[in-house]
């Protein structure tokens, strides 16, 4: 609908066209088994993570090579985050959080390559990760604490009269978590890429082309920052939710 409206003017800017999922080998139908540009770029992200980690840990040298030190830095960074935020008993779930971080980071950064596809800009992709975290964390909370997990919603430090109201608010905020968790990542990446495309559209007009290209370079640098920060935010929120599940008492 918006694309039709945009075609009315002389300047054609279709910032959302880059997010269309297309089958790789022709055809129009997209079934669950179809190889699309989304699956291709997710596979590339996965391959890059595997390559980095396999190449990085292969020699296990005392003086690390460049690949090894990048791998070690990524490992140490996430490890420290899990320990600091979720606590010592959260380290058991470190592999899951490390997987999430590496995949999101690589998918975000690879999406910045021109003509590539940004897999994390799709809510379908991020919602799988967000709801995966939500369900697993809720399950961990009930398994570790039993019904004591429900004390997360019963704020014992508040006055007794306020507690039922707070319980309702806490309950709502708990169930909104997976939505905000996944939409934040998808929204930030989608908005950033759409802004770059809009600037690219302005670059077609000769009068403003230098300005538009300068703006694009600036936005691009910002996008690189956003790609890393959103991966960090997704991971640290996972740690926070995990902490809530392990230690529900306020």
């Amino acid at each position: 609908m918006a694309a039709e409206a945009a075609e009315g003017g002389g300047l054609k800017i279709a910032p959302m066209d880059q997010f269309i999922v297309k089958p790789l080998f022709g055809g129009d139908t997209v079934a669950w088994y179809t190889l699309t540009n989304a699956t291709l770029w997710m596979a590339i992200a996965l391959l890059c993570v595997i390559l980095l980690m396999v190449m990085g840990t292969r020699s296990r040298a005392l003086v690390p090579t460049r690949t090894q030190s990048v791998g070690e830095m990524a490992y140490g960074f996430v490890r420290k985050m899990v320990e600091d935020v979720a606590g010592k008993d959260g380290v058991v779930y470190f592999p899951y959080i490390m997987t999430l971080f590496m995949f999101i980071l690589f998918a975000n950064v690879l999406a910045l390559i021109p003509m590539s596809f940004s897999a994390t800009s799709h809510i379908a992709v991020t919602a799988i990760m967000g709801f995966g975290v939500f369900f697993s964390v809720t399950a961990i909370g009930f398994i570790k604490n039993g019904t004591g997990f429900l004390s997360l919603f019963w704020v014992s430090s508040a006055p007794l009269a306020l507690r039922p109201i707070l319980a309702v608010i806490e309950l709502i905020s708990y169930f909104v978590r997976p939505v905000s968790h996944s939409v934040r990542l998808a929204g930030a990446i989608m908005a950033g890429h759409a802004v770059v495309k809009v600037f690219a559209g302005f670059a077609a007009v000769t009068a403003v082309a230098p300005l538009a290209i300068g703006g694009m370079v600036a936005i691009y640098a910002l996008e690189l920052l956003v790609a890393c920060i959103q991966a960090y935010v997704f991971t640290i929120l996972t740690c926070v939710y995990l902490k809530d599940a392990l230690h529900p008492h306020h």
Binding site: M1, A2, R184, G187, M190, I236
Partner: protein
């Protein structure tokens, strides 16, 4: 004149929803500014609080993201 009043409503609604993104920007700026103000008073304690900073920014940003989502839904899904 072309289009209909429903489409006009969609576009106006999407524009109104985008105000929420600006409000989220104020919130994020508030969090970051206060963090900086605190960090300059006691720089030695600042390093340990960066995680808290990002969590605060993320929570302030979440509601802005919702309004962005409403704008997107109005533009492309309704």
């Amino acid at each position: 004149m072309e289009g209909d009043i429903a489409q006009m409503g969609q576009f106006i609604g999407a524009g109104l929803a985008a105000i929420g993104s600006g409000a989220a920007a104020i919130g994020v700026g508030h969090v970051a500014g206060n963090f900086l103000a605190g960090a300059l008073r006691n720089p030695s304690a600042a390093g340990a609080q960066t995680a808290t900073l990002f969590i605060g920014i993320a929570f302030a940003e979440a509601l802005g993201i919702f309004s962005f989502l409403v704008a997107l839904l109005l533009m492309f899904a309704v």
